[in-house]
């Protein structure tokens, strides 16, 4: 009888499409720095095609699905009626949850060079932008001061996590908020500091929030002196720094976070100024285009 042998499975070739060598990196960065051209022919501040679907979840108050490059995100908005906090009696509440529908094997693979960010990071940034920094004006969620307010709950589900998942998530939230139908309320007489609100069961009896001033998030990567938006995986590998900025249509900045791709150099002040300039104007443009798009919906 021949020798039986248990063979180790061969290690998978990790040189997948995300890994590129130095030559490729050089080629890529040269093209961008010298000729303002990216591998797929886009300009530095061009997004790939953005697709937005409104109202995809009919049982939610508002919902939107955004596909951006290789990222795909669904945001649903739900409403509850709550009592506002003691310190901020005239403000409503906002909660955000982020979940991923990726198979666990892909989600938790620590080895993988992280393409974007973890769900926790996404959640943290979204909360910071929309809840903490006033990205959504919570005073507009007040119903009766000190007694009743709306609680806006966003469920963000990541279907595909690409490089621009942050951008896609913010667009999805803004679009879902635009789609959200707040029932019109009747406030019943107040007695003993208690009041009650009622709404009809009519699905058409609603108001919508003006979302013009709600910020969106842009994540930029820097290759040489050039800032790129919606990078490909190759570009991300090549980039020496990145920044995440949230700004609204008036170029007001709500959030900013920089990262220097492992190298020790920080941003120089003039670069930082340029970055802020670039990103805020980018956000301005994205927002105005989004609003145009939504208005046509």
């Amino acid at each position: 009888m021949a020798d039986w042998k248990l063979e180790e499975p061969e290690a998978e070739d990790r040189e997948d499409d995300a890994g590129i060598n130095e030559n490729e990196k050089k080629f890529l960065s040269d093209g961008i720095i010298d000729h303002d051209y990216r591998l797929d022919g886009r300009g530095p501040l061009d997004y790939r095609t953005v697709r937005i679907e409104l109202g995809v979840v009919s049982s939610a108050t508002g919902s939107a699905k955004v596909t951006l490059g290789s990222s795909s995100v669904l945001a649903t908005a739900k409403l509850s009626i709550r009592t506002p906090g003691k310190i901020t009696p005239d403000e409503g509440l906002i909660e955000i949850s982020v979940d991923s529908s990726l198979p666990t094997s892909r989600r938790d693979n620590d080895d993988e060079e992280d393409m974007g960010m973890s769900e926790d990071e996404v959640k943290q940034i979204l909360e910071s932008v929309y809840r903490e920094s006033g990205g959504i004006d919570k005073r507009r969620l007040c119903i009766v001061k000190g007694s009743k307010c709306w609680e806006l709950f966003f469920d963000v589900i990541i279907f595909e996590k690409g490089t621009s998942v942050m951008d896609a998530a913010s667009l999805a939230i803004k679009a879902a908020l635009f789609d959200a139908k707040f029932p019109n309320l009747t406030v019943l007489e107040e007695e003993f500091d208690q009041c009650e609100v009622e709404f009809t069961d009519d699905p058409f009896d609603f108001w919508q929030m003006d979302v013009t001033r709600v910020p969106t998030i842009a994540s930029l990567h820097k290759i040489g002196p050039v800032f790129l938006v919606d990078v490909t995986k190759e570009e991300m590998m090549t980039a020496d720094a990145s920044v995440v900025v949230a700004a609204d249509i008036n170029r007001t900045i709500y959030y900013q976070n920089t990262e220097c791709g492992g190298s020790e150099c920080g941003f120089e002040l003039n670069v930082l100024e340029e970055l802020v300039e670039t990103s805020s104007s980018l956000c301005q443009e994205i927002n105005s285009r989004l609003m145009k798009l939504l208005a046509s919906a």
Partner: protein, 970 residues
């Protein structure tokens, strides 16, 4: 052929309890093959469900002479269901839109609508327009649900007309609305229900059957009699924060301005006093109350307020502030002030006010109309027969016709601006004082199911002639050779128990109790069983018996008649000569009773020494043993109590009035009672042993010692010491409490003691601790009812347990389900209580008939001394009456003074205390056509200005109807 459209999405928004906003999304598939249900239709496939006539309502309505179906909207169904139920209203189309809306608006109305639709003899058809492709209506943006439903109604009715246009003649569809506000929006034939009914050519005017549209007086009038009710949402918030409490509202029978609310979790029920605090709650409503701070607590007033002063709410026209009303208000305020007098601190109990109604439990009420005061008005005051229900304002065109009639009225609403609730006339039962009408009233009022047994129930009966098969005999113990006999009241047709006695060869005695084997015929879960379970008990009225089981069973197959072979459940004891029980066996058996005797006949046989036949010898033996058993029970502390209403009343099984003088309980009564008790106890032990968790038992809790206080106090006033620390000492001291020269005193004492007792109740053994099983009155640790399965459902259940325990029958899931058993117990307890009330009401009704046109002087004794009245007992008739001491009109108010400590009333030199003897005059007040009632006045002692002159009539021959003394709790 069924063809489906793609689904329509229906979205609505609702709020969940925890505050979430939920969008409910439903998909609905529409069909095109829903039949219209009209006999005129040639298009729809033939179906068994064609209810609508081909030539509907031809010329019925003066305003709409064409053939037509009527399509009521939801408001009409909710408010005017009585109209739709009327036999002369036919060809009704109920659209599913309407049915859905009714379900939302009012569940009781929806239930009645369902019953109505299930009635195949009524021309009523339900059409599922919501599911039909051509009649489905989508809600438009910004459209209210109501107007969408209205639109849907119009679309559906037009579809019908279109659908039936080829029929000869083609019928129209007339939409009925409750108010005219919708009429303008309907572009189809439509009318308000009032216009329609007004123009109907029916045999009696139906307009009164209609409920008036809700009055908007609330907004107009400036005078409100009651504070507003809080909004449901505010109540909910208040209940959560324990600011308010939820409970059931129990109006007081004696004082219409007082009520209690039982709140779950509070030991004491909460007292509500005064019309503002009562705030329009009606008996049995579920209300939200606020409890006052402790310094505002009060005590029950002890006042007897029988009826609202006559002038009050004369015609209920609250808005007209006339002088009379003013006067009545003062009077009312007076009463309320009196009630608010300072009360001793110890008597105080939690007091509160009603802040809102959580659920109305209005039903229809029986009663009479009070004659109107003004000639032109169509408004009347309706006096309900149940004193817990407030007077109701009723508007009717047929007022003159309804005078002096027993009628049924439904309450519609109770706005703040109206002192009285507003209701409408539903139906007429008959003349006041007419026995049938009055019987109907008391059956309705006591929720006694008295319809004929349905076909489904009768189908469960065995086919006649019923033959005892050999097969059946083989399964059973054959007792046909024994000298079994039954002893019952004369004329009894439902004989459920029989006895036998024989001496065994070893010198011991064998005693058998044989009970009709009802469960052989009534199988669990079938229609007959369900009906019996729901009826719970046979109800005995003075002249009528409402059976729990169909007559074939109760009067024949289950009745252990003499000389006939019958199936039985037997309990057979072996005892010593001194009635010590050695063992007991239970079996299913076949018996042949040798004789069905009456108590009198049995007694005669025992006394006639010349008779030595087997039956007579057996009876003598049983009688001897019964005496021993009875003495033993007395020794154990069993109470032998008396209560006037049972003691002096009619023989319930024969319905023959028995003369008071000759009515006495014979030894044989006690003999039968003793063995029934023995059987019940033995069976209770057996089924509890076999089914400790589920057995149906009966318990009688010991009353709290404090409840004896009134009796002890009263006895002390006669210098007699009663002890009540346990049943035994109470029984013994009652035995000794005699006053020479007052033979009736001891009976009175026993009557009073009975009043202190708790109700005996059925329960499921798994729900109560063992030491609480005790039957206080009978002084036995465990007890049940086994001996009357023909007339009590509890016994039926016990038979099933026993049969399963001796492996002669199988158990079934419901039998071994504590929850189900608990429900069964609750129902039979309720039915039992109601049956007792109905029986008493029937007796008092007949008493009243008896005293009509008579004025009789009789001896009476004071039972209770109240703040403004005396309650007296008239032994001869077993009657209880109330003598008002401070009447409404001033001339009889001669200033009685009430002494709370002494429990006495004094006027001048005369003092009334409990047990005092007086002579009273009994008559029936017929002065007003409404409530005939028994009036009791004092003749002796003579109190100038108060007592009346002795009657010249002699006591009537014969006696008022009586009820047989139901032996203890057998």
């Amino acid at each position: 052929m069924a063809c489906r459209d793609p689904a329509r999405q229906l979205i609505s928004i609702r709020r969940t309890n925890d505050g979430n906003v939920q969008r409910v999304v439903r998909e609905r598939y529409l069909r095109n093959d829903i039949a219209c249900g009209s006999a005129a239709c040639r298009v729809c496939p033939p179906s068994a469900n064609v209810r609508l006539q081909a030539k509907p309502n031809e010329g019925l309505c003066g305003k709409f002479p064409a053939n037509h179906y009527i399509a009521p909207n939801a408001e009409v169904v909710v408010n005017q269901i009585a109209l739709l139920e009327h036999p002369e209203i036919k060809n009704i189309l109920i659209f599913s839109t309407v049915a859905d809306e009714v379900e939302q608006l009012s569940l009781p109305a929806f239930e009645r609508l369902k019953t109505l639709c299930a009635n195949t003899t009524k021309n009523i058809s339900c059409f599922a327009n919501e599911f039909h492709r051509d009649t489905f209506v989508e809600r438009n943006p910004k459209e209210s649900k109501e107007s969408r439903n209205l639109r849907s109604l119009v679309v559906a009715s037009k579809w019908y007309v279109e659908h039936l246009k080829h029929a000869q003649p083609s019928p129209a569809v007339l939409i009925l609305t409750n108010t005219d506000k919708d009429l303008a929006l309907i572009d189809a034939p439509a009318m308000t229900v009032f216009d329609y009914v007004g123009a109907l050519k029916t045999s009696e005017p139906l307009l009164d059957v209609l409920a008036k549209p809700s009055t908007l007086e609330d907004l107009k009038t400036s005078t409100f009699h009651y504070p507003p009710h809080l909004k449901p949402s505010v109540i909910q918030a208040g209940l959560k924060s324990a600011k308010y409490f939820q409970g059931k509202f129990h109006a007081s029978r004696e004082n219409y301005l007082e009520a209690t609310v039982s709140v779950e979790g509070l030991d004491k029920s909460v007292l509500i006093q005064g019309h503002v605090s009562l705030n329009r709650a009606v008996n049995e409503d579920i209300v939200a109350i606020e409890i006052f701070p402790e310094d505002k607590w009060s005590a029950p007033s002890n006042l007897v307020l029988e009826e609202e002063p006559d002038v009050d709410a004369a015609s209920g026209e609250a808005s007209e502030e006339n002088e009379e009303n003013e006067k009545s208000r003062q009077l009312k305020d007076d009463m309320e002030k009196k009630m608010q007098q300072k009360v001793a601190k110890k008597d105080k109990q939690p007091t509160g006010k009603v802040v809102g109604i959580i659920k109305r439990n209005w039903r229809t009420y029986c009663g009479v109309l009070r004659p109107k005061t003004s000639k032109t008005s169509t408004r009347y005051v309706f006096v309900p027969a149940d004193r817990k229900i407030p007077l109701v304002r009723v508007e009717t065109q047929q007022g003159d016709l309804l005078q002096g009639k027993r009628i049924v009225v439904a309450i519609d609403e109770w706005p703040r601006s109206s002192k009285l609730p507003i209701g409408h006339y539903v139906k007429r039962l008959g003349e006041v004082g007419d026995k049938n009408a009055e019987n109907e009233v008391l059956l309705l009022e006591h929720d006694v199911q008295h319809d004929k047994f349905s076909d489904a129930v009768l189908a469960c009966l065995p086919t006649m002639p019923w033959i005892l098969t050999d097969e059946e005999v083989k399964k059973r113990t054959d007792f046909r050779h024994l000298a079994i006999c039954s002893v019952d009241p004369p004329g009894c047709t439902d004989i459920d128990d029989a006895l036998h006695y024989r001496v065994l060869p070893n010198g011991n005695i064998e005693v058998g109790v044989h009970i009709a084997d009802v469960t052989h015929f009534v199988r669990p879960g079938n229609a007959m069983d369900q009906e019996a379970a729901s009826r719970g008990t046979t109800v005995y009225l003075v002249d009528q018996r409402i059976d729990m089981l169909p007559g074939l069973l109760s009067g024949n197959l289950c009745s252990l008649r003499g000389g006939e072979e019958r199936l039985a459940m037997s309990s057979v004891w072996e005892m010593t000569q001194t009635a010590e029980i050695l063992n007991v066996t239970f079996s299913k058996s076949v018996i042949r009773s040798r004789a069905a005797l009456t108590y009198g006949e049995a007694q005669m046989r025992i006394d006639d020494a010349s008779l030595t036949d087997e039956v007579t010898v057996g009876l003598r033996g049983l009688n001897r043993l019964a005496k021993i058993l009875r003495a033993r029970r007395k020794l154990n502390g069993a109470l032998f109590l008396a209560s006037p209403e049972v003691r002096f009343n009619i023989d319930s099984e024969t319905h023959d009035p028995i003369d008071v003088q000759t009515k006495e309980l014979k030894e044989t009564n006690f003999m039968v009672e003793e063995f029934m008790l023995l059987a019940n106890i033995s069976v209770a032990e057996k089924i509890h042993k076999e089914f400790p968790e589920y057995a149906l038992l009966r318990r009688h809790p010991a009353p709290p010692l404090s409840s004896y206080d009134p009796v002890l106090k009263a006895a002390q006033s006669k210098h007699l010491d009663l002890t009540a620390k346990d049943g035994k000492s109470l029984s013994d001291s009652l035995e000794k409490a005699y006053i020479p020269g007052q033979p009736y005193f001891n009976t009175m004492l026993r009557i009073l003691t009975t009043r202190c007792m708790m109700q005996a109740v059925y329960f499921c053994s798994g729900t109560v601790e063992y030491h609480d099983y005790q039957h206080y009155g009978l002084a036995t640790p465990i007890y049940t009812h086994f001996t009357s399965p023909i007339r009590r459902y509890a016994d039926v259940m016990v038979h099933r347990f026993l049969a399963a325990a001796i492996s002669k029958d199988v158990t079934y899931p419901e039998l071994l389900d504590r929850k189900v058993m608990d429900k069964v117990c609750q129902n039979i307890n309720y039915r039992h209580r109601m049956a007792q009330y109905a029986g008493r009401a029937s007796v008092s009704l007949h008493t009243q008939l008896f005293f009509r046109n008579r004025k009789v002087d009789e001896e009476a004794y004071v039972l209770f001394v109240r703040k403004n009245a005396l309650q007296v007992l008239i032994p001869k008739y077993g009657l209880e009456g109330t003598i008002m001491l401070s009447a409404k009109n001033d001339k009889t108010d001669i200033g009685f003074k009430f002494d709370q400590e002494d429990q006495s009333q004094t006027a001048g030199s005369v003092t009334f205390r409990t047990f005092d003897r007086l002579v009273v005059q009994i008559s029936v007040d017929q002065s007003s056509l409404q409530h005939h009632r028994l009036v009791v006045n004092v003749v002796e002692p003579i109190i100038p200005g108060f007592s009346v002159t002795p009657s010249t009539e002699t006591a009537p021959v014969g006696a008022p109807p009586k009820m047989r003394k139901i032996a203890g709790d057998a």
